[in-house]
Amino acid sequence: MAIVEHLYPLTGAVLVGLGLYGFLTLRHPLRQLLAVNVVGAGIFLILGGLGRGADSTDPFPQALVITGIVVAVALTAFGAALILRVAEDERAPDGTAADDTNGNHP
Amino acid sequence: MNEFLPLLLVFLPFVPALISFALPERMAVWRDVINISFALAKLALVGFLLLSVEDGVTTEWRYEFLQGHDFILRTDAFALLFITLSAFLWLIATVYAIAYFGRGPHLARFFGFFNLCVLAATGVAMSGTTITFFLFYELLTLATWPLVVHKGDEKSLRAGRIYLIYTLAGSAAFLAGIVWLKSLVGTIEFTAPPDLSGIPRLELTLIFILCIGGLGVKAALIPFHGWLPEAMAAPAPVSALLHAVAVVKAGAFGIVRMIYDVYGIDTVSELGLGTPLAVLAGATILYGSFRAVMQTDIKKRLAYSTVSQVSYIILGASLIGPFAIIGALVHLVHQGIMKITLFMCAGALDNRMGIKSVADLDGAGRAMPVTMAAFSIGALGMIGVPPTAGFISKWHLGLGGLQSDAPWVIAVLAGSSLLNALYFLPLLYRAWLLPPSAKLASVRELDGAWNRMLILPAAITALATLAAGAFATFPFSPLSWAKLIAESGYLK
């Protein structure tokens, strides 16, 4: 039965939709980052789930997924740092926390 | 004959352009010397070519910049007519510009772009294909913009903006036209008109309208003339160059090429495109003259006069007949010489005495007799008084109108001459016959080398105006050359 074979990739499709909805409706960048990670997980499930044979899973998509996960975490780390720096910058618009090359501390 | 000669001729001004850009202001003398010597060198080169072309030898240089698209420079008789004019007037205008600006600041840029302008104008003349023509035509637009905005004040910037919008829009239309035509008949060389018989009339008409519309912007055909009076904000040497040689002539030149070398007179008359264009040109002539009468600013009056006078060329070209085309070609040269005289004089009056408006002219003839004499010759030429050059043009155009069964042309010419008289004669009257103001009385016209250099070019072109009229039947006169062109190619 198709649905049974496709259970995990279909779950992946649902995750993609859910994550996208979260991305569109959540207006905080960190929450959007989380939503994007959900989308990513969904894509990986599709990639891996459709590479599943009778008794084993194709190692090729597995490798792609691992690569994808690592790339995703690298971007998430950078994104989180960027979000933090934006928040810091907004809290201190006079440049105390930002690039204070002008050095005009009070 | 060396095949690189056309290339050399076109790109010769590039050398003084680069040198002018590079030399610091304190070496201005060197800049002047180099500019003048290159202008002389070019004139010599042109003279050499003139002799060979008269023998029927044309040289060309080709480079395939894209498959199926040749870049061709060719020295045919028509090209040489324009080149001779531009080389001669370049020398004149260079001398005049040096004297006009003296040792003002930021002239490196001016002379650099001035040279590029001449390069582009020469390229326009020598283009052997529509695409080549377009390349130089656009380069001309670009090179003149910095000249128009040279003063940098609000008025010049506005003029520059208007100039760009008009001319670039025109070029876009022209480009669309030539690409369209190319897609129908392939590359068009200006040696013989291509066979257009298989192409729908509507398409041909539309392409013609696109091309003439595009070229008409630079030629200041109504309703595309709006940029020209605005561009008067530029310094006098620029106005002289733009309105006598480079820009408007490039447009008029292009229209002649379109009619005679791209479409061919047979196709044009078969499509019935000549008469509407002639009517438009006639309307421009009258409109321009009429507007000129109403101007109080001398340069503006001259500008509208240009609008009117350039259309004589288009009128002659579109009438399609032996006399008409000769009139058109000869007027290309004559109008150049006369108009540059007028602009140089106007510039000199402004430069020396601050005269800008017609009302300031009272008694100027007594303060600056040589200048005003030159001005008067130019003005009489414009009106068409014999034996000036202008008379020759108008005579041939009138004959051409009769020959082409368009007697209304005579009316246009008469009306225009009347209006010409109406806007030039009051100037002459004021300058010669009214007493000068106290301010003017103190001016010594020819004191100092600078001042003599300022007056000399106008005097030379004024004499040329007389000579072109008086010696019109001599070999190498503009008229004989125009006849040569007409006989060698444009008359079947």
């Binding site: 994104g79 | 894209l66 919008i165």
Partner: protein, 485 residues
């Protein structure tokens, strides 16, 4: 031995070197330029279409690299841009006063090489998953560089770029599941017009359109490109957006030309037209210089898409194809030149607005000249490479009777003239010579060289056309004819 992998490996090696060298890291550029120049020349000398699978494995397992025309042209243009922008950046991204590292001065260089290597990787590979990684290399470096100017704009860029990457990845996942390969050349042989393929193509295209900042998905570009430091802006506008564009080309014209619906091509063409018009109008409305230049990028990318339907329907001549790729190249050079020139001018007057440029043509004639020459190419005026591209596209449009596309090409050029002559008019305004804060005579050479190249490449038109014609899909009927022989 082959330059294909070295062109990626060398920048990465320099990235490591720069990381290890601390405050001296920037000087590796002087070694990188000759190395990359040599490799690029080598690449250009390769017979077209030559390639290999990395590590000596075979398809469909391995990653295939290939030197086709568009890759050769893009890699070469990238090398020129990166080298010159890098030289310009030597001053801007330098150690602090006491020879100590600064965050930007240190971090720029590894990111610069990452971007360079990533762009080369993207241009040279035929593997869709490998392209994903290349895309991320470039995006990561690009966002970090944008963050050096404005954190806020960078965050916006980052979030949107992330969505674009994931959309692309989703397509890759579907394609792999469907065909058991991610190699373009194999996909081209197997392509079937089924639901999975179409869905994959749609989401990948959407993702790439985001990355290439195509209207209406361009929103992230102007703030990010306008705020970044000049060398970063130059790299972003010149190189980064082109990577997404090249992948789009490969998908639409190499892997799946057979299943692309004409409606899809038309849609892209319309988007391109809207981008040209919208970007130009927005550029006209800007009163800060870098925002103007950034919106110009939005408009210029529109031309690339405008060409899609023209390329697809071109009957063998490949004129539209050549026009499109030459436009990408010309835009690379001209836009990099323009951003660098803008950076110099703004730094010199210590301002951001167009009116701050008042009279600058007298104080910095060479820089203004560089800006003007770059503008000539962007406006598509002769004799620049930009003109050549526009001319070829116009010719294709007229031949195919695509009146609307032809009109957009012409009107777009006019609008470009309107917005580009605005800053130039300010530079020519007045009659006094303004006092500038900082003149950088040596660095002026960078934008000038790029701009001169953009203009003079117009003379090498046929050479570029020949290079780009060496792509497997440069003209579908012609390629088939060659196969028959």
């Amino acid at each position: 031995m082959s330059p294909l992998d070295l062109l990626v490996a060398a920048p990465l090696a320099f990235m490591i070197a720069a990381l290890l060298s601390g405050p001296w890291g920037r000087w590796w550029l002087l070694a990188a330029i000759p190395v990359m120049a040599g490799l690029t020349v080598w690449l250009l000398l390769l017979p077209e279409g030559s390639g290999h699978v990395v590590g000596g494995w075979t398809l469909p397992l391995g990653v295939q690299l290939r030197a086709d025309g568009v890759a050769q042209l893009m890699v070469a243009a990238t090398a020129v841009c990166a080298a010159i922008v890098g030289l310009y950046a030597l001053h801007e991204f330098a150690p602090g006063a006491d020879r100590s590292e600064t965050a930007h001065g240190f971090a720029f260089w590894p990111l610069f090489y990452l971007l360079w290597g990533g762009a080369n990787a993207g241009f040279l590979t035929t593997d869709l998953f490998n392209l994903y990684i290349a895309l991320e290399m470039v995006s990561l470096a690009a966002v970090a560089m944008a963050a050096m100017g404005s954190l806020r704009a960078a965050l916006r860029y980052f979030v949107i770029a992330l969505v674009g990457s994931l959309a692309y990845l989703l397509g890759v996942a579907l394609l792999f599941s469907n065909y058991a390969t991610v190699d373009l050349t194999l996909l081209a042989e197997m392509a079937r017009p089924d639901l999975a393929t179409k869905t994959a193509l749609a989401v990948m295209t959407a993702g790439l359109l985001i990355k290439a900042a195509v209207f209406p998905l361009h929103g992230w570009l102007p703030p990010a490109h306008a705020a970044a430091p000049a060398p970063a802006s130059a790299l972003l506008s010149a190189i980064v957006v082109k990577v997404g564009f090249v992948i789009l080309l490969r998908l639409w014209f190499e892997a799946f030309p057979a299943i692309i619906a004409p409606a899809g091509l038309e849609l892209l063409g319309w988007l391109g037209a809207l981008a040209v018009l919208y970007g130009s109008v927005q550029a006209i409305r800007q009163d800060t210089l870098k925002a103007l230049v950034a919106y110009s990028t939005v408009a210029q990318i529109g031309y690339l898409l405008l060409a899609f339907p023209l390329v697809a329907t071109a009957a063998g001549t490949g004129g539209a194809w050549a026009g499109m790729t030459i436009h990408a190249t010309a835009h690379m050079l001209a836009k990099a030149a323009m951003f660098l020139a803008a950076g110099l001018m703004l730094k010199a007057v210590n301002g951001h607005h167009l009116k701050d440029l008042h009279g600058l043509a007298r104080a910095m004639p060479l820089t203004v000249a560089a800006f003007g020459l770059a503008a000539v190419s962007l406006m598509g005026l002769p004799p620049s490479a930009g003109f050549l591209a526009k001319f070829l596209l116009l010719e294709a449009a007229v031949e195919q009777g695509a009146v609307f596309a032809a009109a957009v090409l012409l009107v777009g050029g006019l609008l470009a003239a309107v917005y580009l002559f605005k800053p130039l008019a300010w530079a020519f305004a007045g009659s006094d010579t303004p006092v500038v804060v900082a003149k950088a005579p040596l660095r002026t050479a960078a934008p000038l060289a790029l701009a001169l190249l953009a203009v003079s490449l117009g003379f090498a038109g046929q050479a570029m056309v020949d290079i780009t014609a060496g792509s497997p899909w440069a003209g579908p009927p012609a390629t088939e004819a060659e196969d028959v022989q």
